[in-house]
């Protein structure tokens, strides 16, 4: 059975390769999102004794339509590591305004988890602009992380559309598709063994349980597979074993890419795979 899956994957890869199917066709991996709904990536927050996470909130409606600057209601929804909803927070941004979202202030006394996720939904006051163009406003913003003793915050952007929300409805919708008949393998195209410690953050962007296999490749050509099963919006912070040269992630979800934290002697690096 496994070899049949591998064969079908290879045939599909060859067809994709021959037809030069790529970025523009990636929307086939998403369910339809209602016109006027707002879209957000699923961002990681890290807290605890060591970490501080912040997120600059920008008035995206005014950036999209600067000729008619408008106020904007921004709704932030927080989830714990298990993917459970923790709280919703709302703010109003004046035209072109930026506010800093301080995660520690938001989640103080609400959870003991040291990491989880959040999403950011924008509700323009002039909704017709987006409805008329049949497109959806989306926040792919820049999350900043720093440790308590750090002067510099390290930024990284969102990299996968995950959730949408109709402004008339209270909850969000996962619109990422997955194919139970096909496995996708994502190879991280960089090595990890130059860091003191490497942590890999992954989250399940779908509304169904997913199993992700993390394969660690060692210099002696040995590999270790670790299977992680995640519920909807559940996330995991995986500490890579010492000497791991690189990793690959296999799952039924396309574009399941990790966020990588590499700790060095003095500072740290955070980037998307």
């Amino acid at each position: 059975m496994a070899s049949l899956f591998r064969f079908s994957n290879r045939v599909l890869d060859m067809i994709q390769h021959r037809l030069r199917l790529r970025a523009k066709s990636s929307h086939r991996f998403y369910n339809k999102v209602a016109p006027g709904a707002t879209v957000s990536d699923l961002f990681l927050w890290r807290l605890g004794d060591q970490w501080i996470t912040e997120f600059p909130l920008c008035n995206l409606s005014s950036l999209c339509f600067p000729m008619a600057p408008q106020g904007e209601v921004v709704v932030v929804r927080f989830f714990n590591a298990a993917g459970d909803f923790l709280k919703e927070w709302e703010t109003v941004l004046a035209p072109f305004e930026e506010q800093t979202l301080k995660i520690k202030e938001q989640l103080y006394g609400i959870t003991s988890d040291v990491f989880g996720t959040f999403c950011v939904f924008h509700a323009p006051t002039l909704k017709n602009h987006f409805l008329a163009s049949q497109t959806n406003i989306s926040d792919r913003g820049y999350v900043s992380y720093r440790r308590n003793t750090d002067q510099v915050s390290s930024y990284t952007h969102g990299n996968t559309y995950v959730l949408s929300r109709n402004n008339d409805e209270p909850n969000q919708t996962c619109f990422v598709r997955y194919a139970s008949w096909r496995k996708h393998t994502y190879n991280l195209q960089t090595t990890l063994d130059d860091a003191v410690q490497t942590e890999v953050f992954i989250s399940n962007p779908t509304k169904n349980r997913q199993t992700v296999t993390i394969t660690q490749f060692f210099p002696d050509f040995q590999t270790t597979d670790t299977a992680v099963t995640l519920g909807p919006l559940e996330s995991c912070l995986f500490t890579v074993e010492k000497l791991t040269r690189r990793i690959a992630l296999s799952s039924h979800v396309f574009m399941l890419r990790p966020l990588v934290f590499k700790t060095y002697v003095n500072g740290f690096d955070v980037f998307h795979g």
Binding site: D13, R20, S26, F96, T135, K183, Y186, Q189, N266, F271
Partner: protein, 267 residues
Amino acid sequence: MNYYPLLEIQGFGAEVQLANFPSNGDYESPINPVVVYAAQTTGSHWSIYDCGELLPWETRIYSRADLNGEENPLESIFFFMSEQSLPNILSALPMPSLFQNTEPAWRGNLRVVGNGTVSSYSGDYPDSLAKLENATLLSLSPMIQKCPGITTRVLIINLCLCPTIREVEARLITLAERSTLQTYRLRTNRVNVLSVDENLVHSASATAVTCEGMTGIPVFVSYNLDRTMISMEHTHPPAEMMVFGSGSARRAIVRGLKDHFLEKGGN
């Protein structure tokens, strides 16, 4: 063909890590050996430097040292991988190569090396962007760090297939008033490093970087005095603020906002 710029900032090391395997695919996909080249413009042609072979599933870190001192120390370097061998002079950079036609894109790890730390992002400069000779750039980024003791540099990476060197003007503006805070002279086919005047930015509201006559990838780099902590991230293009629906409608919105911030911008 994807290109990988060496992000050189005074006082820091610069490295590009390249991998000869795709981001997406099972382990049995056929992968051929490639030659890694470095390209550097002279203004009239591209000088091409052979940096050696990269075997299937191999990764390697490249830096200016791989050019053995034969290059112009003042010009930027762009690495790329090729299945074909190339001459050491080209009138234009090579066009797309099928083997890198993957999704997610075939990325390199672009690194800035500090004092006991590294900051990087996984990225590339795609040939589709290098084909745009006369485009515009608008970076709507909140990544300038306004804290004492922190320096922020904005890198504007530009690469064109043709080696011509042109100068263009870029501006750091405020979003609401469209007032110009700083102006810069940029060059094509270069990793341009822009200084941000902390005094101007401290008192300003949200800012943007604009440039007419040249597109590129903006990268924000912040660091502390002893360079033990670095942040580096590229910005999304404005089109990423919208998703789904009609592509032409999204393009119209981007045209409108670029008209607003670029053509009519500045005092």
